[in-house]
Symmetry: C2
């Protein structure tokens, strides 16, 4: 049996104990960050606030986010996190970039917006200069303006529309008894949103508004996962994907020009993992072409959709090997291990993502259970994109103190915080996820150094080319220093 | 960025992938166990059964045990686990050794049993030759026989008594909204039980019955945590603690003589962590004396009770250093890290337990978040006593797939399975906890090798002296081989 104390069998030496405790803390994310005097002051304040929130009757990270949100909004730690420069958002899906509130109150109030309620009770939108044709699931399209005009209470009606565009429920456990139930609603909400945001004029405003929401949450850069749907016009004509890419570029450039505090946005082309190998092959080829045509915009490639129901990465190996065979570098950013099915084929996605040289791991929820993959990703400096609220809402974990990222955090595993589908979960930017990460997953041990490392990590693990990354880090440090000066 | 494939940038080599997957599996508990032909056949069957249970509409480890129990009882894996020789139960508290059913249907039917319902609605029992005196919480003692005789429906009455002796509820989430609520009920149930089992004649039968229940669940050895309360007689006279120790020894010897398949039982003297330093000091001294007087019975010392509310180990350092100062070896078996309060004082119990040379760690729920402590306990071969159902019922985790032991399991950390307070949780023996461990925590990856290692670990990490341990392992192997032969 082992012997920890300096002399076996005697009272443990308090100095040695102190040292060991410090050594353990030093391993965690932010554990080797040196805090300035000002930072130490803010850190002490944060620690006190944290102790209060942990001692409160209800600890928000322990309950469902939909119930926790009003509590979080009142938290002084949350308002600090809102002000904190959080760096980059590296894992957001394009459809859920902008809050449902804006979609309903702005977009659906625009002229020529038609709505249809499907037989299964979900909703579709379409902008059209004439009455749209019925389709199999939409027999009866109504002009939204007329419909709303006939409503006794348009406010209630707008609220009912919003409910189709988010997962929010007063009683989420009753509404979503299983992962299947919540994923079904998840995919229906995506369908509802897509008719709104693929209308070409809306598409531009949507992106601009999305960048505004991020900047407002003190985020300076975005890497957006997008299926790059083709957009349409009022007359039903359809743009090709280059149009979308060009528009992404133009809108971003315009936004950056008007907001010098913002650095830009890049895209990770994402296709659904229910596709066939040949479809994914075609998508990989297309992504290679897009990367060639828009090198500043296209950052890489990913497969998305529910891992437990879709095909594992290894199923697509032929498609995913294509770039290497062609001698072309197409960086991968795979969703992997967003599952609790330990030991299944899907659970091998993490190892396969690493074998295909993924640059980051989306979620990596299962990584802590994979010691070899964990070592490889640590050595290879492959960051995990942790999305706490997403994992909770999609029912992988209920009490966020049990989120496996706590293990990775305690070991200083490379990681960033992200929000996955903010508008669907009723969040905006990254502050809510930072809150859950800082209090729930990090516990009392996570400190200002942890926050500093998590924020700067998001620039460090971005796909920005080296000179821009340098500039980004400098910009971030400046706003960080300002934040510290104003809040210490 | 790293490069996993043999030649960088090319398709990953399938053989290398195979090898890595095998390497990862080999690290887990049981990963290096070589299975015989018969074992491989049973393993294949288990794997298929597992796939079926994972694919079922409701996966028992994902829901509260009180709701999962009827499903588990129908599981063919569970009936295999019941038959499987599981080795030793190393973490059970004496008050909850025997099922509530037996306490009510056997003990409370004995003569001279009085009952009292306190003003707060809980219950106390006392055996007495005359009407007991009222106390501050028990103003009115009734003879149970009379009371039961006056009941229209004695069966209902007996069921209501049982409810006081377990935590079981139809709707546990509503009944126990918080950790505080469930711990309160937990401690009330202990109070109710204590009046029954500290009656000297019952005490003997209780222990005998407890060993019977274990043997019936194919367990061959027990290490029991006990506060060693003094027992009483009908006339109110009280035995000293030596009487209890002697009785433990005699009853165990009798049981072993009558059941040659059973190896024995030892005690871990446990005191409550709400005590003062001087009280614990006295308890340590007493334990040293008991160990001297009954070396075969007394295995060591522990501090028990809710960690989040009690004093941390370091608070008791003076008391815990006593044996070392006296040059005496009193082995420790500390409960540590049965908490989700990461980063608090309580969360340091794990490190302190190791600093005080604990022989095993009770629960170690927080260990996966302590990389240094994890390394130390692995190097020092300090096993974690994992009690899945206890952690779920006491609200540390709801879906057992998120239990942090999954991390430890994947890394091959030394561990055993135990049941903590079987009668309070409505379990008996270890089969239910083995089920949760095997399906929930282990996932599809855990296999017959995992079960074999977990079972044999319980002998290996016991306090049995070397020759007896050898004998135990041989006995276990024999019953294991028989189990395999009968079920492959
Ligand atoms: Zn995602
Ligand atoms: Zn215990």
């Amino acid at each position: 049996v082992m012997c920890c104390s300096t002399v076996c069998g005697e009272t443990p030496d308090p100095r040695r104990r102190e040292m060991m405790m410090r050594q353990e803390v030093s391993r965690q994310i932010g554990g080797s960050v040196q805090l300035t005097g000002d930072e130490q002051r803010l850190n002490a304040r944060l620690h006190k606030l944290k102790q209060q929130e942990i001692a409160a009757k209800v600890f928000p990270p322990a309950i469902h986010f939909f119930k926790a949100r009003p509590l979080i909004q009142k938290s002084p730690i949350f308002s600090l996190l809102q002000k904190m420069p959080k760096g980059a958002a590296l894992h957001i899906h394009s459809s859920s970039l902008v809050s449902a509130d804006w979609l309903v109150m702005n977009i659906t109030y625009r002229p020529h917006c038609y709505v249809c309620f499907t037989w299964s009770g979900s909703v579709r939108f379409l902008f059209s200069s004439r009455q749209p044709f019925p389709s199999w699931d939409c027999l009866y399209w109504q002009l939204l303006k007329t419909l709303r005009g006939n409503m006794a209470n348009p406010t209630d009606f707008d609220h009912s529309l919003m409910k189709h565009l988010t997962l929010f429920k007063e009683d989420p456990d009753a509404a979503y008894p299983s992962q299947d139930a919540v994923w079904e609603k998840f995919e229906l909400a995506f369908l509802a949103i897509s008719g709104l945001v693929t209308y070409a004029p809306v598409f531009k405003d949507f992106l601009y508004k999305g960048l505004e929401e991020l900047l407002h949450d003190n985020i300076m850069y975005l890497e957006l996962r997008t299926g790059l749907s083709r957009t349409y016009e009022l007359d039903g004509s359809i743009h090709d994907k280059s149009w979308s890419l060009r528009t992404y570029q133009e809108v971003t450039q315009k936004f950056v020009a008007e907001h010098p505090g913002f650095l830009g946005a890049r895209l990770i082309i994402s296709v659904h993992r229910v596709l066939s190998v040949s479809d994914v092959k075609a998508a990989v080829k297309e992504a290679i072409q897009m990367q060639k045509d828009f090198p500043e915009v296209v950052a890489g490639f990913d497969l998305v959709g529910r891992e437990d129901r879709g095909r594992p990465l290894w199923f697509f190996r032929e498609a995913l090997s294509l770039p290497a065979e062609l001698g072309i570098k197409l960086p991968y950013f795979f969703h992997a291990g967003e599952t609790d099915l330990e030991g299944t084929e899907v659970d091998e996605n993490i190892l396969d993502a690493l074998l295909f040289n993924t640059q980051r791991i989306g979620h990596g929820y299962a990584l802590a259970h994979h010691p070899l993959a964990k070592e490889l990703s640590k050595k290879g400096n492959v960051a995990v994109e942790v999305c706490p609220i997403s994992n909770q809402v999609l029912k992988l974990v209920s009490d966020l103190r049990n989120h496996p990222a706590a293990v990775l955090m305690s070991e200083g595993h490379p990681m960033v915080v992200s929000s996955d589908d903010p508008s669907l979960f009723g969040t905006t930017g990254l502050s809510y996820d930072f809150y859950e990460m800082f209090l729930g997953i990090g516990g009392l041990r996570a400190n200002l150094g942890t926050l500093k490392e998590l924020a700067s990590n998001s620039i460090r693990y971005s796909t920005l080319p080296p000179p821009l990354k340098e500039r980004g880090l400098t910009m971030w440090q400046k706003t960080w220093d300002k934040f510290i000066a104003e809040n210490s």
